[in-house]
Symmetry: C2
Subunit: 417 residues, 2 copies
């Protein structure tokens, strides 16, 4: 039963986005009816992401609106093959017409996710349901590649991935292993690859492939990946914390990805936890990064005489501790506490109450996570109604690619009001 649909389109039609976003300077601009439409469309889709396949009636109940409103929002999306109706599901014992759950169509336009590392680029397609396909990976040629070589590698991977898409992707999201200017959509600095400093990758991709492109730094990408496709699904407040050779994080506060001006903030690795402490790679002393990265772990492992200290990480440390290797258990505990210190500070500052751990500690599994959680709870004064929860993120490259795609999704769903 085709219903006459109004000419509205959902915000994922790329020509809509820039105009809407621009006119909707938050705090200044006023709202209009058409913006209400876009915003509600975004919210319905967001609820769908959060809950999985859901009927119109259920969506209406949850949103506290009339069923006709949901129908009106959803019908154009069905026409555009963004959504599909699933098989009718049995009504409850009370009877009634079977509900038709709505979910994202496999025919919906995918998102191109990209991970840019100092020595390689990885691309893929991500469906709105969160499945990854058409993965490509191209390493940069030499030791110190030129920007032209880097550009060529990126173009090559992107072109191949995009050619696998059945419909035009909604956009390209890029997770960058370094500092990013999200406004200019440019790389500010990538350690070990200074050639990329100032690289306006966003503009390059838009010019070359005619798609909207968004850049953000790696931890923020992990967070949005968690938010749409992972453990952060449906959450309104949480933080993602990445540990490894470096340390970073991102915040989702009040239902919005938090970005400071041009994407500042989240430089958790370089917050002070030990004034005048050890020298950090950044030149300052006592950064959290000096005590909660695998670099610290290696140094400690060597100091207490653990085998192959250069190959230590959370996974091995947990195994060694489990095997009763002398010193391993206490090192594990100390490492967990060091990680916990920074998380405790974050909790005291913005109190997200939920933390998704990424990077090295993921290898340590539940044991590592529980160790960290225990220390955080001990380090934060208890407060009524403020339970602190922890979760372990996806495996590393999957998390980054989903996250990169999530950047585009965040932009599309978080219609700024």
């Amino acid at each position: 039963m085709e219903r006459e649909t109004s000419p509205q389109r959902w915000p994922m039609d790329e020509e809509d986005i820039p105009a809407d976003v621009r006119t909707a300077r938050p705090g200044r601009a006023l709202l209009s009816s058409s913006m209400v439409g876009s915003a509600n469309r975004g919210r319905v889709l967001q609820t769908l992401f959060d809950l999985g396949p859901t009927s119109r009636a259920e969506l209406a109940r949850l949103a506290g609106v009339n069923r006709t409103t949901i129908s009106g929002i959803v019908q154009p999306l069905l026409d555009q093959q963004v959504l599909v109706e699933g098989k009718p599901i049995r009504p409850s014992e009370a009877g009634g017409k079977p509900a038709r759950p709505l979910w994202f169509s496999p025919e919906a336009r995918p998102i191109c996710g990209m991970m840019l590392m100092p020595d390689a680029v990885q691309t893929c397609l991500v469906t709105l349901a969160g499945t990854i396909s058409a993965e490509e990976s191209v390493r940069f040629p030499a030791e110190n590649p030129t920007l032209a070589e880097v550009t060529r590698a990126i173009e090559q991977a992107t072109k191949k991935t995009l050619s696998a898409a059945h419909r035009e992707p909604l956009g390209i999201g890029v997770a960058v292993g370094g500092m990013v200017d999200t406004d200019r959509r440019a790389v500010i600095a990538v350690n070990l690859a200074p050639v990329m400093n100032g690289f306006e990758l966003g503009d390059m991709l838009t010019r070359r492939f005619g798609l909207p492109a968004l850049l953000d730094h790696h931890p923020r990408a992990l967070l949005v990946g968690d938010r749409w496709f992972g453990k952060g699904r449906g959450m309104q407040n949480f933080a993602a914390v990445y540990t490894g050779e470096v340390l970073g994080g991102a915040l989702y506060l009040g239902g919005h990805l938090y970005r400071g001006q041009s994407g500042a903030g989240g430089e958790l690795g370089h917050t002070f936890v030990q004034v005048d402490g050890d020298l950090c790679a950044c030149g300052r002393r006592g950064c959290w990064e000096t005590i909660a990265t695998v670099g610290w772990l290696r140094r400690q492992a060597r100091a207490i005489g653990i085998d192959a200290p250069d190959a230590i990480n959370s996974a091995r440390l947990v195994a060694l501790a489990g095997a009763g290797v002398p010193g391993a258990a206490s090192l594990l505990d100390l490492y967990a506490r060091n990680v916990a210190v920074g998380i405790a500070n974050l909790q005291q500052t913005v109190a997200p109450n939920f933390y998704i751990l990424h990077g090295d500690v993921v290898g340590g599994g539940e044991i590592m996570a529980e160790a960290i959680a225990g220390h955080v709870r001990a380090l934060v004064p208890s407060r009524s109604g403020g339970e602190i929860r922890f979760a372990i993120g996806e495996t590393e490259d999957r998390a980054a690619l989903l996250g990169a795609a999530g950047l585009v999704l965040s932009e599309l769903l978080q219609f700024p009001l």
Copy 2:
């Protein structure tokens, strides 16, 4: 020329608020046309706060909307005597009809601000233009007053202040010198006054005086005071930092006051800057509070033999340093750095880029502020487009009372979408 106005009321009609706020669970609930009205009304008023007296045409230009829209929003507010038209202002050389600036009417309903300290309560009326009147202050009787005595003191001060109001106040905002549960509108804990722990002050005030009442902890009140009546006017991102006997802070991020669950967050004093450092009053070690409060300053002053070390504070320290007292200048510098450490961490974490200093350091004036600013800039890696600015807040009790009133205003203007 009276225009027929629709029966809409601005959000400050108290019976509107609870319903609107409740239905507008962010991230879940959808928007409706009537909510657009409320939201836009709030935004226009917010813009008016930010810019001072402004004509309809100017408001329309800034908001990027039609002039008729502003007229439609503003007319009922004029009818209700929330706003008044000022004297026509001369047009520019180009000519044209003179603009009639709009501003808050002195006849508009005031806000009752309250500051609750361990040993006293202070109340006042605040107009929307930010002037304070009808100040009352009642100290609690004995050393360890009973809750009944505290309640009586609060009622007495409030009653007297409220009786001075020409129109029914919009609500009562309370700044509490302790931990607060903003959801339950209750005091969680006030140092030195354990009798207040668990005190459901918000309900008490609403029951007793029939007005909406909001509680928040002191630093957050300072922040909203700055936002609406002080140096934070018009800002979209900034932080308020209070130093003194204790240390606290609050964040305004993306045009919204940030609160964690039930008002958590902002416990900056108990973030770690020195793992395993000095013992803090909270029982942990190395809290920021151990190195950036006047307690630390007193200990250091005594250690280097400054006169009357127990009476030291930023004001005296600046004076001493100016007078060339040995050790004073370096102590000033060290104190400034200690304060700067925590601010640097905040900057690295959420990057508000603008800090308003409150409490003890205000006494140190520009010299103190510049010393802190210098250290922060040295401690934070520079980043393009990320200048860090500082300002000094209002004098202490004025800031707190304006802030308490600001809590009510924030709730009314920040219509949650």
